[in-house]
């Protein structure tokens, strides 16, 4: 079966975020970018499913600027068979108001609509996505895609097994684990504990250069996108007041009891 995996280009999770002085957005210029960690987990799972003989083809998809090819090349080096970049750069020109931050402002429902269109085109049996991207933190796309397609959904997956057409998914829920079974096709979003992504080997990085990577402008997909929200402002969070140093455990306990009043 075919699996579609999404790969989003985001600021590397080790980088300290800076909000622009005009409070319009987070600074993305000259900042180290990487694949969203939850997307890496989704890809790793697809690769493992292929190694287990469940999957015949892995298609990695990114919706973003042309430079997101870097993340797709990495996905190819890690085991994706081909890659598809839905380029958002044309929209940057047509809507100048959001030009500076276009790739961050493709809203989740629009991403889901683009993916639904690709599902129609590629006919995968499974779409694997990270549970959320670590830039916008929306945690919406997988669920929305499942809704648009009227497919079953399993979010926050920490374990996946496939027997024939039956997919069994263990989900991380508040306070424990839940196991669902759904028949394919389905949408699954991945949580942290599903697997530990591998590193790309040099020979695989070289081989990835030969694998197909198609770039398709959004405009060619004939999908109707609508604006559902407007980001008015981005602020730095309130700074914590400088704390104090205590000299020993006794003083610490005293402060917690009498000043902070957080312990009885």
């Amino acid at each position: 079966m075919k699996v579609l995996v999404t790969i989003k280009r985001v600021i590397d999770y080790h980088v300290k975020i800076r909000v622009k002085a005009d409070e319009s957005a987070v600074e993305l210029n000259n900042v180290k970018m990487a694949a969203n960690p939850f997307c890496e987990i989704a890809l790793e799972e697809a690769v493992r499913m292929k190694e287990a003989g469940w999957v015949s083809e892995i298609i990695a998809v990114s919706i973003g600027p042309v430079v997101a090819q870097e993340q797709l090349r990495t996905a190819l080096a890690l085991g994706a068979d081909r890659a598809l970049l839905i380029s958002t750069e044309q929209t940057a020109i047509s809507t100048e108001q959001t030009a500076s931050s276009t790739d961050q402002t493709i809203e989740p429902l629009n991403v889901a609509k683009i993916l639904a269109k690709l599902v129609e085109r590629e006919q995968p049996q499974l779409v694997l996505l990270g549970k959320q991207s670590i830039d916008t933190d929306n945690n919406q796309v997988g669920q929305m895609l499942a809704g648009l397609l009227n497919w079953p959904q399993a979010t926050f997956a920490s374990q996946l097994t496939l027997e024939g057409e039956l997919l069994t998914v263990t989900r991380e829920i508040d306070g424990g684990l839940q196991t669902l079974a759904c028949t394919l096709p389905a949408v699954v979003t991945t949580d942290l504990r599903l697997n530990q992504p591998r590193y790309a080997s040099l020979p695989n990085i070289m081989k990835a250069k030969q694998k197909p990577l198609e770039i398709l402008p959004i405009s060619e997909l004939a999908v109707v996108l609508k604006q559902h929200s407007q980001q008015l402002k981005v602020m730095a969070p309130a700074k914590r007041k400088a704390g104090i140093k205590v000299k020993d455990a006794a003083e610490l306990v005293d402060k917690l009891k009498h000043d902070a009043k957080v312990i009885p």
Binding site: L109, Q143, Q227, A236, G243, V246
Partner: protein
């Protein structure tokens, strides 16, 4: 202006997260209908009717026993046209459900609302709380999940809201509940705990990491870990606090033997009071700590345990 609040429950009791979401719904300023989807959940409806809501809507059917996203989203979408807002707590249940509703209604959604500025304008964290975005929702129906730690819990009053039974809507799903394993730990759940004690690589080994347990028992605290401690095998994966782990905001966060990497800070810096214990006086964790103790954790932990 009316709001549909989605209740979370286990068919017996209302989940406290819903009461935090109710406070957010009250702030929106309109009348509130509370929707309970469940199986043999009339006790939940009775309890919910004591809160300041107009109507408690109850869809009682085996379809909704485990509140799976597919049948629940279909039901909510069928009710949506009567409402300006649809609100749920940003729990794993709310996050699983509401985006699917949004797609069925062809509207956007605002996740993890921290503050309501206007009925259509909200503040929410991005980059794991390292930036706060102000977002205006433009659709006719506004869907929100709210971060429970940002809104206080609504109190039950002397209200007695009408309870109205809804018919289940026909829905065939290809998704089925198999089982559930709720953790039986005596410790509170990490994201809901009032006190969290987290350890880092400074603890040195899995055996040493266990030292945190005794202190945690005294404070009824949950135990967290940094990614470095998890990667080193000192702690289980599900204990990870950080941008790619769990986001916590307890009243008291005690950081033990951890440096305060950006990734980790992103997951805990909304904590009300932060205590840092580290022998390296230059560790970044001291920059966010309310109380810093520069000392050897192996000496401090037993002392603290005695003093508490």
């Amino acid at each position: 202006m009316t709001c549909l609040l989605i209740a979370e429950h286990d068919n017996t009791q209302l989940n406290p997260a819903t009461l935090h979401a109710l406070t957010a719904a009250i702030e929106l300023g309109g009348e509130i209908d509370l929707l309970i989807m469940g199986d043999q959940c009339q006790a939940v409806a009775k309890a919910a009717a004591k809160f300041a809501v107009r109507t408690v809507l109850v869809a009682d059917s085996s379809n909704y026993q485990h509140q799976l996203a597919e049948p629940c989203a279909a039901l909510i979408a069928s009710l949506a046209k009567n409402y300006l807002h649809i609100v749920a707590a940003a729990t794993t249940t709310g996050k699983n459900l509401l985006p699917r509703v949004a797609a069925l209604l062809d509207v956007g959604m605002v996740s993890e609302v921290l503050a309501i500025e206007y009925p259509d304008t909200f503040r929410r964290p991005i980059y794991a709380g390292n930036a706060i975005a102000t977002v205006q929702a433009l659709d006719d129906i506004k869907l929100l999940t709210v971060r429970t730690s940002a809104f206080s819990s609504a109190d039950a009053g002397e209200h007695s809201a009408d309870i109205q039974q809804l018919a289940a809507i026909e829905y065939s799903t290809r998704s089925h509940f198999v089982s559930e394993q709720l953790s039986q730990s005596a410790r509170p759940e990490l994201t809901a705990a009032r006190v969290v004690i987290s350890g880092g690589r400074g603890l040195g080994s899995k055996e040493n990491f266990a030292l945190l347990a005794q202190l945690a028992d005294k404070l009824n605290a949950a135990i967290g870990a940094t990614r470095a401690a998890v990667d080193a095998g000192f702690a289980a994966n599900d204990m990870q606090v950080g941008q790619t782990g769990k986001i916590v905001a307890p009243e008291l966060y005690i950081a033990v033997g951890l440096s305060g990497a950006i990734q980790h800070l992103a997951g805990m810096k909304e904590s009300k009071v932060i205590v840092a214990i580290n022998k390296d006086a230059d560790a970044a964790i001291f920059e966010v700590a309310d109380y810093g103790l520069v000392a050897d954790l192996f000496e401090v932990l037993p002392e603290l345990e005695k003093l508490l």
